[in-house]
Each structure stands twice: as C-alpha cells, then as structure tokens.
Symmetry: C2
Subunit: 885 residues, 2 copies
C-alpha cells in the first residue's frame, strides 16, 4: 500500500528534509525538526501525491488516503493525550498547505480546526479562559468560512465592527467572552441565512473539507498565476500539514516569541530575541504590547526594564538555548526561530535561515568558517553577489521618513540627494559653487559627461537599463534612476512635474538607484563601509573562481578605482569618450567635416597627441595588466555640434557658413544609427581614423615600455561581421604598427581581435577566429540586434514584456540565455575549432550581472569585464559559478 501520510513528532518521524518533493517545504522541515527530537507539536503531512490523486479522482479523497489520515489522527490523539472532538479535552489542529517550492501567501490555512459549539465549552473550562476559547472559535469560523466554504467574509468582519460599536469599544481585545459568544451566534446565522449552510459541527467533516480545500487552493487563480510567473510546474501539487495546536495565550504560564541565533543587523554572535506572556504569535509583531527581551543581551532602550524570559521562565529559556544551539549547528546558519510556551512547556514552531543585512551576512559567514561550522566554499554561497552593492554604495537610512513621488528603473545603485539641475552646464556651475546637485534630464547624451561627473546622481525620464545615463553612471559608480516615465521634464522651463506637482531648479530631491524610487526633498543616507571580513571573504572567492574579472574603464581614474576593487585588467577602454573633452571635440568635428582624406588626416594629427596621452595614463595605472582598447565605435554624428554656438564656432574654423554646417549635420543623419555607419564600417570608408588610433596606442605602449611599465595592449575592432572585413582592417592596422616599431626602434607585444556584437559575427566566429586573436562579446548590441530591440526605445514596451512574464528577465540586464546565449555558445565553440588559443571575454553590461557571469563561466569564457563598482560582484558570481557546476 502506498504511503500517503507521513507522521511527525519528537517521538517518531516518517520524513526528513530531503523529502521536499513529497512533503512540501514546510512538511519536510517539520519532519526534520522532529527527527532532531525538538519538541514540535505532533502532526502529520498528507503528501503532494495525495493532492495529485485528488485531482485525478475527480476531486475525491480516496478511501485509502482517508484511512491513513484517520490512523495518523488517532496516533496524534494518543501522543497528545487529547481527543479530536472531545468535549472535555479537545484536540485542535492547524491545516496548512506546503508546496515543494515556496509560494508565500498563495494558498490557504485553517487554524483551530476541531472547535464546535461543544468543544469550545470544553476548551473554556480546561483553560479556565472562556474569552480565549470563544475568540478561538470565532476566528476558526471566519477562516473556515472563507477557505473551505468559499464565503466572502467581509460581512462577518462588519458584524464584529457593529458589535464593537454597540459595546462602545475600539479594540477587538475589549470584547468579552460573552460578546464573542454572541458574535459566534451571529456568524452562524449569517452563514445559514445568506448561504444556506449549517456551520459544520462534526470535526471529522471539518477536517476532510479543509484538506480538500487546501488541495483545491493549488489551482486557485493566485497560485496558478504565481506558478506561471515563477516557472513552477503545475503538476507538482501541494502537501497538507495537519498539526496539533499549541497556545501561548492560555494564561500566564504561556508565552510566545521569536529569536535569532545571532544579531541580524550586525551578525555578532549573541543570542537575541523577544517574547510576550499570554499572547499569540501575531501579538509580538503587532506592537500593541512592548515585547520583553529573552535575555540581558537582547535588552534595548525600549524594553530594558522588562523582565527577561530567562528570569520568568528559566526552564523554558534553558530549553530554548539548548534548541537554538542545536538548530544553528544542524542548519549551519544563523536561524530565525518561532516558539510557543504552553503551560510552561516549550514548543518550536518554525525555524528558518534568518534574514539579515549584508554586513551581517558577511560577518556570519566569516565567523561560521572560523567556528569550523562551514567551509569557505559554503561561505561563498551564502552571499548573493548583487547584495555586495549595499557594501559599495551609500544607501538610504531605513528609518528615515520618505515621500515617494515616482519609481523608475534601478539603473545604478546607491542613494543620492541634492538640488535639482536640468542642464549639464548648470550641474558644473553649481558644483563649482560647492552645491550638491542631482542632474535631472529627459535623457543624457555623450555631451553630458561633464555634468554627470559634477552631480551626485543622475535621474532620467527615458531610456532603459543600458541607456547612456545608466551605462555611464554605473561606470562612474554614481547612483542613477533611469526611464522614470512618470516624470515630465521641461529642460527649457527647468521644471520637473510629477503627480500634478511641479518642482523647479534648486529644489531638493533624493533617489535610490538600488530600487528606482524617487523621493521629495532630502532623505538621510548611510555611507558605505568596507570591513576586514569583506577582504577575507573576497579572497576565498578569488581563490576558487576560474573566470578572470576585468573592468570597463576609459580613464586613468576609473582604472585606478577598478584596481582597488580587484580588477585584473581592462576589458573595454572606449576611445570615443576621450573625444568629447572640450579641447578635442573641435578637432573631431574638423575630421568629420573633412572633404577628403588629406583634410581628415590633418584633423586626426591634432587628435593623435591627446589619444597617446590618454593611453599612457591608462598603461601607467594598469602596469602589468592587459588593457583592451576598442577603436572608434559610435556613428560620427554623435560628435556633431548641436547648439548654434558650437555650429558657428566650427564654421569659423572651417570657413563654412552656419547653413553649410547645418546641411552637413543633416546629411549625416541616420534613420537607425544603431545599425548605421559606425564601428569598423568607419574604417572601411575612412581607414585613416583607426590608423591614427593604433599609432597613438602603440606609441604610448612603446614609450611606457621604455620607462619600465609593463604593457599588454589589446586592440579591438568593433562591429565586425565578416572575416574579410576584419582582415582588411587588421592588415592596415598592423602595417601602421610595424611603422611605429621601426620609427621607435622598439617593439612591444600586442594582440588584435574583435568584438562579437552582431548575430552574424557570432555565426561566422569560426571564420573570424582564423585571424582574430581574441573575441569580446558586446552583449549590449548583441542583445539589441538578436531581439531587434533598441535599448533606447524599449522603455515604452519592455516593461509590459517583463511584467507579463514574456521575458523572464530584462534581457538588457541579464543575458537572454536561450536566444543571445545560443549565439554566444555557438561562437565560442566555432571559434575554438579554428583557433584553439583564442581568448574570449565579455565587455557588455552583462559582465557584472551574476546570472550572466555564471552563464559566461559555463560556456567557457576566459574573463568578464564590467564597470569598476561591479568588479567585486562579478568576482563573487564567478566563484559561485564554479561551486554550482
């Protein structure tokens, strides 16, 4: 005969924590605690298979299951020395769902099952607490009516309100036993009159119906939707946990409480908790009565004069201490334990790994290793990489008052507050004047770099997670909320309007780049702190990971920050950002407007010394580490003068009229610049641009090498889609490099390779690898082209896609593994076939996102590269990837 029911008690337990699939998470954990001989209220679990059987047999509980349930019930009666339905000494049950995966709040629970018009009197007598008994019965009717009878119980709640009004009281607790008895009568007659149902008095009937109701709740709308959203199979089913009730509110020898095995806000090793005498679990949380400290260590300002559990119930406290130690040792992690003391006897109701701050997580993990409770590898798995953000960026004071006015995309973590400015120019001026400013813009463009540097944070109304503002802010480690579409920004009027209220330049604003929330005024922040534990922990992660972690950095300053965060090289140095400095942009524009190759070369000659200086600075900072430099990538029109002032200035230099400048601007317009004349396509039409750039790189490398700085330049060609295209450019660049070597009579080692950022590049990777020495996945553009989705325009519809679960995650945040990942896998496999030594990395924004880092590890990449502030996150994610495989 199949086993449909698993018993649990401290005396005998059928299950254990490994039977989650059969017993559900809750059932398995109850069994586990029982097998540790903790005093858990006895009960039994009806398996998930019984749930599936229920659906198979047309929503009938089969006789075989019924007989096993009955047998288990009798076993609980014996153990507890109570009887189900007995008038003198009634046994009551809680009936709860419990699926294999946690589905919080999705399914139903019934407490106090077994009460009826007779047992309630027995309860009252036995506990000598009629109010408690009638209140329990009232609650049971309400819950049962809702969950099992399917009645909308708002009418019952209003009956209770009516009664309170009639009695002239405000709190439920002010109702007397008599009042509650009367209320039970009212409830029953409402249920009869409105729904034609006699409230069932037979506890056994109550039980079967409750079990059926829990099974039924597996397929309620909420639960079904939740499973769809979370990819939980519909055919798992739920178990039902039927557990004898214990009460902390039966009198002064009763209590209920919550404790932590360590301090959840610091992670310090001290036993910490609160309790209330003669109370139910929810009273501890509700805050009507001030909870008492369980021991002296737990005393706080608010309760330091209260007696401790240790003092009032020393035996139960001693048992609790014994139990908490056992639990922490067993689960090898800090626990959050719920307990009830019924007539002096301690019961453990639940234990789970405790929620804690990231700093506490880190301390607990490091301490547990020191205590030899867990290995370093186990410690590594204990911290979610994304959580490290909290350690690296300022955050809002969790206790501060906040007035949320809008929510956008959490584009770059950290909290920022300051005075609003609407132009980069203003940001720079106000910053010079010593003010803290937040740059608020519809969207940013490369021309805003100066303003972004001058601001404490950037807030935009448009653009996605990989918009210009988001990418640059993350690179700078500045907080940013992007794509906050509720904001109406008028850059002309210098106002921000949201929810009908208009703010003007200089008004204070705060936002949290970690959750995308925007607040009115100033909200106090807490600065980031990095502890010694952090360093210890990261050393463990570094020792195990296989992926190298580089950084995306365009300046010596960024490079320096990244090295402090543990970067092992530069994976992407964008040369175009260097073009925007005021003293250079004019030469860039001269180059773009050049009518022929000679004029273009003349302008490029002016840029050469600047570029060389940039690279020298970066080589100096990265002494001994590889530096991957991407040649010019964006479409030329990004550099064009947009203001009439700039246009006039350029006209003067070139001897052209304003009209001519405007016409030239227009002629460079593109319908889809993302898919336009950019990347290596520029080098096919204007080879002299890349030639100037490689000359600057190699001249800087040679000079640095002569000074004793170890240089490892890697020259990267963007937007390749074909071997022949790559070959043409590579051979032109190599010819120039050979020239420089001859001129300087000095050589350095270097590599040449390409980005893979177009589907075709990935498809043709086997071909391209014949000549390319390395690949670097540009997953931002690869995602855009694979999906046919412009990240700058996706803000209008991508949120609907993720909200409706069409894409489980924003593909610009986490690599789309089935789609984009398919191309990456193909490229790595094909590339290695034709070039076994090819070095492969990723430099898209995904390089610092934990799921993506794991994917990169799994498909055999050599390194990931991300913005400096994400380097520690990538290091940890890379270590976890190793441990997960």
């Amino acid at each position: 005969m199949k086993k449909w029911v698993y018993k649990f008690s401290s005396e005998l337990t059928d299950g254990n924590k490994d039977l989650k699939a059969l017993l559900g998470g809750k059932g398995a954990n109850l069994a586990e605690m029982c097998s540790m001989k903790l005093s858990v209220p006895a009960g039994f679990t009806v398996t998930t298979e019984a749930c599936l059987d229920y659906y198979k047999t047309n929503k009938e509980i089969s006789p075989e299951i019924r007989s096993q349930v009955t047998e288990a019930l009798q076993w609980v009666e014996k153990l507890t020395n109570k009887k189900f339905g007995d008038v003198e000494n009634p046994l009551l049950f809680s009936v709860r769902s419990g699926a294999r995966a946690s589905m919080p709040g999705m399914m139903d629970t019934v407490l106090n099952l077994g009460l009826n018009d007779k047992t309630v009197i027995g309860m009252a007598k036995k506990t000598n607490n009629p109010r408690f008994a009638w209140d329990s019965y009232r609650r049971f009717i309400q819950m049962y009516s809702n969950v099992v009878l399917g009645i909308n119980t708002s009418i019952l709640e209003s009956n209770m309100e009516d009664l309170k009004e009639a009695r002239g009281v405000h709190e439920d607790t002010a109702l007397t036993a008599k009042d509650l008895e009367e209320l039970v009568g009212v409830y029953k007659s409402v249920i009869l009159e409105d729904h034609g149902i006699v409230f069932p008095q037979d506890p056994v009937e109550q039980l079967w119906k409750a079990i059926a109701a829990v099974f039924g709740s597996w397929n309620n709308n909420r639960a079904t939707k939740y499973r769809e959203m979370n990819n939980i199979p519909h055919d798992w089913g739920t178990a039902v946990n039927i557990q004898s009730m214990v009460f902390g509110n039966m009198g002064d020898t009763c209590a209920t409480g919550v404790c932590f095995t360590r301090d959840p806000s610091t992670g310090e090793k001290k036993f910490f908790g609160e309790f209330l005498v003669n109370a139910q679990g929810e009273d501890v949380v509700a805050g009507i009565r001030t909870p008492q400290p369980i021991n002296n260590e737990s005393k706080m300002e608010s309760n330091k004069h209260h007696k401790t559990l240790e003092e009032v119930m020393p035996k139960a406290y001693a048992d609790l201490v014994e139990d908490y130690k056992m639990l922490e040792n067993h689960y090898k992690d800090m626990q959050d334990i719920e307990f009830t003391i019924e007539n002096g006897k301690l019961y453990i109701l639940q234990t789970r790994n405790a929620k804690r701050t990231v700093n506490a997580s880190l301390k607990v993990a490091v301490d547990l290793v020191a205590e030899k409770m867990i290995t370093t590898n186990e410690a590594i798995m204990r911290i979610s990489p994304e959580d490290l953000n909290q350690l690296l960026h300022p955050r809002l004071d969790p206790k501060a008052k906040k007035n949320i006015i809008a929510t956008g995309l959490p584009a770059s973590p950290g909290a920022a507050s300051g005075q609003m400015v609407f132009t980069s120019h203003a940001a720079e001026e106000w910053h010079k004047a010593g003010k803290k400013v937040v740059l608020v813009r519809a969207e940013t463009s490369p021309e805003d770099i100066g303003g972004m540097v001058a601001s404490t944070g950037i807030l935009t109304a448009r653009g996605g997670m990989t918009s210009h503002a988001a990418v640059v802010a993350r690179g700078m480690g500045k907080p940013c909320v992007a794509g906050c579409t509720a904001l109406v920004i008028s850059e002309r009027d210098k106002t921000l309007t949201v929810k009908g209220k208009t703010y003007k330049e200089g008004d204070f604003i705060t936002f949290d780049g970690a959750n995308g929330e925007v607040y009115e005024g100033i909200v106090p922040t807490i600065e980031a702190t990095i502890t010694a534990d952090f360093a210890t922990f990261m050393k463990w992660a570094d020792a195990i990971r296989k992926l190298r972690v580089r950084t995306n950095a365009d300046t010596p300053e960024d490079a320096k920050t990244a090295i402090e965060f543990g970067a092992e090289g530069i994976g992407l140095c964008r040369t175009e950002h260097m073009f925007f400095a005021p003293e250079r942009i004019l030469a860039v524009r001269e180059m773009i407007f050049a009518e022929n190759e000679m004029a273009r070369k003349k302008a490029l000659d002016k840029l050469l010394p600047f570029q060389r200086e940039d690279f020298s600075g970066i080589f100096r900072e990265m002494n001994g580490l590889p530096v991957n430099i991407r040649l010019l990538d964006p479409p030329l029109h990004e550099f064009l003068p947009h203001s009439e002032k700039d246009q006039t200035e350029l006209g003067q230099v070139l001897g052209l009229s304003l009209k001519q400048i405007k016409e030239r601007n227009d002629s460079l317009h593109e319908f889809n610049p993302m898919l336009g004349h950019r990347g290596c396509r520029l080098a096919i039409t204007y080879p002299e641009i890349y030639i100037m750039q490689v000359r600057a790189i190699i001249e800087a490398a040679v000079e640095s090498d002569k000074k004793g700085i170890k240089v490892f330049p890697e020259i990267m060609i963007p937007l390749t889609s074909e071997l022949r295209e790559y070959s043409v450019i590579q051979s032109e660049c190599k010819a120039e490099i050979e020239k420089v070597f001859k001129e300087k009579n000095h050589t350095v080692k270097y590599k040449m390779g390409t980005m893979l950022e177009l589907p075709r590049a990935c498809i043709m990777a086997g071909e391209i690898a014949r000549e390319s020495e390395f690949f670097s996945f540009g997953t931002n553009d690869l995602t855009q082209t694979t999906f046919g989705l412009s990240r700058d325009d996706a803000g209008k519809f991508l949120p609907s896609y993720t909200a409706r679960g069409i894409y489980p995650r924003d593909p610009f945040v986490s690599i789309d593994q089935p789609g984009v990942g398919f191309l990456m896998k193909h490229a790595v496999a094909e590339g290695k076939k034709t070039n076994a030594h090819i070095h492969v990395g990723i430099c898209g924004e995904h390089g610092g996102e934990p799921h993506s880092v794991e994917f990169c590890h799994n498909i055999g990449l050599d390194y990931v590269s991300c913005s400096p502030f994400r380097v520690p996150i990538a290091r940890l994610a890379a270590a976890q990837a190793v441990l997960r495989t």
Copy 2:
C-alpha cells in the same frame, strides 16, 4: 612519364572538353573541336600542372616538359608542312593562356611567335605580301616586348606615331612595307638602348620565354585580384595553348568572319554571318570596311549589294555550313563561330554558345526542344531567370543615343522617361493633366504612394535596394533607380543638380531601372512583349519545380497582376499600406493619439469597414488561393502628420492645439525605429489594434465564403521573438475570431502563424513552432538585424563593401547564405522537429531573387513570395533549383 603536353589537330587529339582542369577552358575546347574532325589549326596545350610545376621548381621549365614541347612542336611542323624558324616556309605560333575558369583579359597572349629578321623575309616572299610580313613582325615585337620582356611599350607606340607624322599619314594601314621595315629597326634599337636587350632572334628561345611569361601572368596583380574577387583558387594555374597561326589577310583567297547558327536577335533558325576578304579578325569588328554577308539570308540594308561568301568562296562556304551544323548539334545550342580562310582553306578558330537577346534565348530553347536536340529540362537551364525581366518591362532602345548623367542602384527594372516632378502632389496633378512624369525625391515615404502610382518611374538620391522606394516600386512593377547619390535634390527649390548642371521641374529625364543609369532628356524605349514561347517555357518550369510561388500584394489590383504572372497565392499582404489612403489616415491618427483604450477602440471602429472592404476585394481576386495577411507592422510614428496643415487638421478633430500635436509627435520619436515599438510589440501594449484587424479579416472571409468565394486566410503576426509573446497575441486574436464566427453563425478555415524576421525568432523557432501553424521568413529585417545593418542607412558604406569584395553580393539583394542562411536553416530544422506539419515560406524581397530562391528550395521551404513582376523569375529559379540538385 607524366603527360605535360596535349596535342590537338583534326588528325589526332589527346584531349577533350572534359579535361578543363588540366587543359584550361580554351585548350579543352580546341581539343573538343579537333576530335570532331573540324579543321582547327594544329597545336598543343601545355597543362596547368606544368604551370604548377614551374612555380614549384623555382620558375624553371623542367627538362621533361621541354622535351615534350619539342616533340609536339615537331609534330605540328610535320602536319603543317612548315618549319619553326625556317627561312623559306616558317611556322608561326600563337601562345595564349587558358585557365580552368574564364578570366577574360587577365592574362597574356603573344601572336606571330617565330618571326625574326630572317623568317620575316621568307614570309614576305612566300605570301608575296611584304607589307603583311613586316606588319606581322612589328606587331610581334610590340606584343612580345610587353608580355615577355616586361617593357612598357608606350614608347614603341609613339615611335610609330612619329613615323606616321613624318610620312604625313593618319592610318596605320597607310604605312608601306618599307616604312614598317624601318619601324622594326627603330623598335629593336629602342629595346637595346633603353633596356639593354637584344631582341631575341632564336624562335626556340622566343617560345620558352613566352611559355614562362604566360605561366608568370597567372600571378600578375590583375589576375590575382580577379581570382580573389571571384573566389577562384590561386592553386589552379593556367595552361598554355601553342597553336599554329593561320592568316585571313595573306591575299584575296583569304578571308575572316564570324557567324551565328541562328539569328541572335530573334532566335529564328537561319544561318547568319559576316566576313571580309583579305582581312584579320579584328577588321570585321572595327567597322572600317563594311563586312559582307555570308549568304543571302544574312543580307541587310547596309550590305545587300555585296557578294556573299557563298558566291565568292563556295567551297569554303559549303565547309562552313557543314561545320556549323555539326557544331550546333554537338554543343546542342546556338553557336557563335569565328573562322578564317587561308588560301581557300577554312579553319575554325573558336566556337562558343552565342550571346542573344532573351526573346531569342527563349525561342532557341523552345525550338531546340521541338527539334529534339535538347530536353525540356535542358531548355529550362538555358535561360537566366533574371533575364526574364527584359520580357516583362519596357527597355531602352539599344540603338538610341544616350547621355548618362549619373548611375544609381538598379532598384526596379524597366526603362522610364518623363517630366521631372519633386513632390507626390505634383506627380498626381501633372498625371491628371495627362502628362508623363518621373517622381524625383531624396527618398520616398509611405505618404508618397499616391505620387508613385501617378508616375512612370521613381528616382531617389538615397536608400538602398530595399529602401521604401525600391520595395514599393518593385511591388508596383514600376521602374526605379534608388540611392543615386550623385544627385543633389532640392525639394524646396524643385531642382535636381548633377555634375554642375541644374534641372528644374518639367525637364525631361530618362532612366533604366535594370542597370541604374540616368539619362538627360528623352531616350526612346521598346515595349515589353510576351510570346507564346514564354508560356510554353514557363509551363515546363512549373511542371518541375517543388517550391510554390506566391506574391506580395496589398491590393486587389496587385493580386490580379500577380495571378496573370502565375502567382499561386499571396505570401504577404501588408495591411499598413491600406492605412495611408486619405479617407483613412485621419482615423489612423486618431487611434495613435488616443489617450486610452476606449478612444483607441473608437478610432479603430472607423477603420474596421475599410479594412474589411480591402480584404473582401483581395479574397475575390484570389478565389481558391491562400492569402497571407500580416497584421500591422510599422512603428506608429510612420503614420503621424508631418505637415503643419495635416497637424492642424488633426488638432481640430481631436480638440488639441498645434503645439500639443507637435509634442505628441515628438514623444513618439524613436532613436532606432527599425528596432522600436512596432510589429507585435504594438499588440502587446495595444491589443485592440490586432483585434480590429482580425475581425476585419474574418468578417470579410465569412462574407466571401457565403458568396461562394473560396477563402484561405492566413493571419500572420510580425516581429515575434518568443513563444510566450506569440501565444498571448494568438489567443487574443483567436478569441475575437470565435466571437465573429458566433455572431455570423458561420465559420471558415484559417491559419495563424508568424514571421521569422529577427535572429532570436529563428533561434527559438523550435519553441514558436509549438503554436504557430506557419513561418514566413522576413529576410529584409532578418538581414538588417543579423548584420546590424540598416538598409536605409547602408547606402553610405555598403557599396564599398561589395566593391572591395567583403560581401560577395549585396545581402539585401541575395540572401547572405553563411550568415542569414544559417539562421534560416536552423529555424526550419528546429521548427519541423516540434511541428512536423509547419508550413514555411519567405516573403522578404529575396523571394524573387534566383540565388535566394535556390537556397530556399535547398533548405526545404514550401514557397517563396515576391512582388508580382518577379513571379515568373521565381518560378523559373525554382525549377532550376530542382535541376541543380
């Protein structure tokens, strides 16, 4: 011993036409003609292997090869009864290259080899024609100096010019034998003085050096580049053909000519040709003397009083007739034959399949089948599908005078001439006034449809082969030249400026959409004619092809045209083109500007009857054939009002100010509209749009079905990239369809499926096929996204890519098989795995391009769909694809 040398003569032949790899194309054909016992001047071929050996042995001709050449030379001496280097009766040779693949003009040739200071005198005596002998010697020195000695012969040419001036003559022919003898002396002394080379007098030395020079020419720059461009392997090598010279210019018993076995302009079965007495081959072409007809049938106005070959050399003519019949029979195709008559004896120098007009091609192919010379399958392979364009579109009179002013992309075939207009409005007005106009625009947009309809052709300065103008023009069957970047068009001034000349509205212009050329003024055109042969021929093609051929048609008119061209259904009916009609566009704009779902539905309700009417018309025309309708695809801003007039009008309807309308226009702006809020993404955010469209389709289908029209609607969702996205939309559409069925109490069969036009859609095709009933490859967008290349912007750089051979063909014209094709293959294979019955087609522009059609056949598509005028081309290409596999 290896065979390095293959002899050929009418007596004995070592080779045949199948030995092209070893003997080269020319050598194999000479051998073939000899084995047919035609009188070909005797000679021998040194193999391509000898060429490779030459390179392997450090550019030495090995003794073994030398000895075989010497033996073959003696064999030719015996056959011709002449002696190489003999003073009395010298044997002369031509020495020519001949590779496996034709490489016209890439390698070198030396004629008259064997002449020297002594043999020239023997020649003069023997032919009794000293001028001929000295002229031959002069030519030989020039050619040999260039090819073998590597001397820049421009100085020799100027020596000749000097002499002509000194003699006071203009033509080379006016120089006497004495003059030429003197010139030979000058040549030799220049070669000696300037280059220190004594011109070689030993014929054997001449021969070895000439052979080495031909081998060397395989690796000259021109040849190497040509091979790279045409993917010809560098290790094939060239053969050398050494053939005894015959002369048509030794006197009046000599002649030279060219003949065709059928009429090359009509294909009629009549023997046709021209000749000249006492002349060289080039004289026939040069046009200094009027060639004589070979027979009465060949007489034309210009030469009808001349004597025929039949009259003047009846024996040679009779031999020629015998030979031409044999050759046509042997090669089973119309031949173009070069012959020379030396002292009354006919020699065949060359035969090849004759170039001919497409009409002639067709007639010849059909006739050859009737004559049982070839099978229908062989006939099918005789016509290049692309050439059918000539039959379907008007073309320029080839004899007309033309003044080319610019060249653009051959975007839609056919010749057009008319008066220039610069706006669609003007096009419509002038057309109404009975004028023939050409619409000249920087680029067209969907708003220009009316103007395009009113014009005889469209000429644009920007955009590529798949720009709006190109796609729409091809759909309409109208000639179009697009992306003609040399044109500077001012729509404001209504002028077109090119090469410094400005044309204004009303000036005449002509262009040829088949080659992209633009001409000043009116050039006369010839109308298209479709013959009975065409119908016969296409029937054969249809019988064999496996691919069905559908058409892309948006209107009943297009559908009708396409059916006449043999379309078997509609593969793409774009619903958005229907939105631009003046009476509809306002409702479309109302829909776009709607603030909420209700307002949007109200506007959509206005569009519903129009759409229903559109579909009814198409179903009527396509009675019994499938009609694939794509739901709305373009980004909404394509429909926005651009002129202030339209904006004001819309504002009045909506009660909005001009400023508000402009702001709303701005807010719909996208950075990369191609990758923006379009296709099924519109349906995710605004489901009511597709719901209106499916209602219109199904209502029309139901009504048509009730009238007895057989309808097979296929509803296609564009821009899908994910199964969940497709499912959401499909279920919304199906729910609406069920509603319509219930309302009408009548059902029809229909299919729902999706386009595959994004890389991710192809990658995920296995998933998507679980629900989609068909796939249709949208290869325009798929090419754009796979390459990351905007077709609208590629005009600036794509020409450099194809010119430099980076992409062998424009990927927007012919499917990029290694890249885009990889995704297509993957999608077909994966789709069939999960849905064995999935129906797969292509509706991108590539569906009518022969290479692409062949590819579609090879990867197992069910149909291709193309613009109406390309349907016959696709039908033929599909048939050829079957025969090629």
